[in-house]
């Protein structure tokens, strides 16, 4: 387990060796990442300048990458190239032929519309930014009819289950189906706010609905814990195995 680990001279030699220093997964590169990770983790002890420094590096890199991705994944392939086109290329001994892309120059009209969004910083002309934002919101709104139908109608249909043990429905299945149906109705009844629930029956079903909701929330709570811990376990693997080499790699 400890061969080539941080407790051996080979580890330190590899760290400071100029050979292969910048190859992928090299120790010097992983060390950069490990130092930044420890910088963030220093917050667990207390707020400090090293943490603030690392935090600002992170935000800067993430913001910068958003710009890079915007250009190379969106503006170039979806706007610039369709607008100006690309001439085709004949085949050469080294490269295959590449068909041309026609220039749909009308895409040029989109840029001023998108640029209106930047008026959000202007007090006088801020309302103009509502145009591109409104277009995006309108496009979303228009899809909701289709979205509701496709997403929820199968869910509602699945709630209609046989609760009487006849034919293919075994007694165990009937009991489970009854629980499913009752749970759904009772939880829905908890959210009825249109009138005051005065009758004892409604109040009791509402209380049961609240308890059954807690079952759902408990499931979400439990699985949330799992996700959060796995994220840390993965970082521990990175620091202890990939960086310090205190165990066998995956």
């Amino acid at each position: 387990m400890l061969a080539q680990s941080v407790f051996t001279p080979e580890w330190w030699q590899e760290l400071f060796s100029p050979d292969g220093r910048w190859l992928e997964n090299s120790l010097p590169r992983i060390t950069i990442g490990a130092i930044l990770t420890l910088g963030l983790y220093s917050l667990l002890y207390r707020e400090n300048k090293f943490y603030r420094f690392t935090e600002h590096v992170f935000v800067g890199l993430a913001a910068g990458f958003s710009v890079v991705a915007l250009v190379k994944e969106v503006l170039w392939p979806l706007w610039w190239v369709p607008m100006l086109g690309v001439p085709g290329r004949e085949a050469t001994p080294d490269m295959p032929a590449v068909p041309g892309v026609e220039a749909a120059w009308l895409w040029g009209a989109l840029l001023p519309v998108a640029a209106l969004g930047f008026f959000v910083f202007s007090k006088k002309h801020g309302w103009l930014s509502r145009i591109p934002i409104g277009i995006i919101v309108g496009l979303w709104a228009g899809q909701q009819l289709n979205a509701f139908q496709n997403r929820f109608l199968p869910q509602i249909a699945d709630q209609a289950r046989p609760i009487i043990p006849l034919g293919e429905t075994s007694p165990a299945m009937a009991v489970n189906n009854l629980i499913v149906v009752i749970t759904w109705i009772v939880v829905l009844s908890y959210f009825v706010y249109s009138f005051e629930q005065k009758s004892k029956f409604l109040q009791r079903t509402s209380l049961m609905g609240r308890w059954l909701l807690m079952v759902g929330f408990g499931a979400i709570f439990g699985t949330t814990m799992m996700t959060r811990f796995v994220l840390f376990i993965d970082r521990a693997y990175y620091l202890l195995i990939e960086w310090l080499r205190l165990g066998e790699r995956l």
């Binding site: 992928e24 994944e73 969106v74 289709n146 959060r228 994220l231």
Partner: protein
């Protein structure tokens, strides 16, 4: 009697101390527990979740040359769960020689994260030297989620045609041969750590099967869609990755297939996860016992 009073006082002080323990001790205990298990993992046999097995069985039943569309929406922030799922899925599809196209809605970083992973995995024994532009393509990032999914469902070719590999459009590659509509795909698999799967529920119109590999935190809200049949299967969190790894091992045992790699982070992270969760349960119990004891002695925390 004074002895009882003294014992009572000591207990109260003990529970007061327990109640007010510095959180940094808890952090240290968690770090030590996880470190021990990460460096010395315990391997246990797995009982696969039926929902994950359903997804695996469907994908494993695909034939050579079939096409699968993959929506890949995780970044390194959920690497612990999502990367294991992604790698297991890729191994299965590569070994089955299934063509696939990967696009992403969640984060512009994703194409640059998965490219080196796929290049490395393609070299593994059994993965058939998969090549970008020939066996699979990466369609890249699309920022407008709703429009992209609607576009894929209505006209898959025109939605991704602007993306290029090796100087040509991805729809001109062998990967998209014979794929004219989303219904020509055998399945859409969404690997996600966010709510992008909802876009597929809302728009897919039963054109093809839908499968989901998600983080555990999302399982509660997505299991109903598996129950209603809108999902062909669902692999949940690190356990889902472990389920896929176990099923890969059943289909291609490492002993009989030298060099094959079936287990990665899914199995590795199970034992540290168990002990971390035991620590969490212990913390909840101790916290409540401390509160109860302090109430009993009249010292409210």
């Amino acid at each position: 009697m004074s002895q009882d009073l003294q014992t009572e006082k000591q207990k109260a002080t003990f529970w007061e101390t327990m109640h007010a323990v510095d959180r940094r001790w808890l952090y240290l205990i968690l770090f030590v527990v996880v470190s021990i298990l990460v460096t010395n993992p315990i391997t246990v046999p797995n009982v696969e979740d039926p929902a994950a097995e359903a997804l695996y069985d469907y994908l494993s039943g695909l034939e050579e040359g079939d096409f699968v569309y993959i929506e890949n929406d995780w970044t390194n922030s959920t690497r612990g769960e999502s990367r294991g799922q992604f790698e297991a899925l890729m191994r299965l599809l590569m070994r089955k020689k299934v063509r696939f196209c990967i696009s992403t809605l969640g984060d512009p970083q994703i194409p640059d994260i998965i490219r080196p992973i796929l290049r490395q995995m393609a070299k593994e024994p059994g993965n058939n030297n998969y090549e970008e532009g020939k066996d699979y393509v990466i369609a890249g990032y699309f920022p407008n989620l709703e429009a992209h999914v609607s576009g894929l469902v209505n006209n898959i070719r025109d939605t991704v045609k602007e993306k290029r590999v090796g100087g040509r459009s991805i729809i001109d590659t062998p990967v998209f041969e014979g794929i004219n509509d989303l219904s020509d795909a055998k399945c859409v698999v969404v690997i996600t750590a966010s709510g992008t799967i909802n876009l597929w529920y809302e728009r897919i119109r039963a054109k093809t099967k839908l499968g989901l590999m998600c983080t555990a935190v999302m399982s509660g809200e997505n299991i109903p869609y598996y129950v209603s049949g809108q999902l062909v299967g669902i692999a949940i969190g690190a356990k889902g990755a472990f389920d896929f790894e176990s099923l890969l091992e059943k289909e291609w045992p490492e002993e009989e297939n030298p060099g094959y790699k079936n287990f990665t982070s899914g199995r590795r992270y199970m034992s540290p996860l168990f002990f971390a969760l035991m620590l969490l349960i212990f913390a909840v119990v101790m916290g409540n016992v401390a509160m109860y004891q302090l109430k009993r002695t009249g010292r409210h925390g």
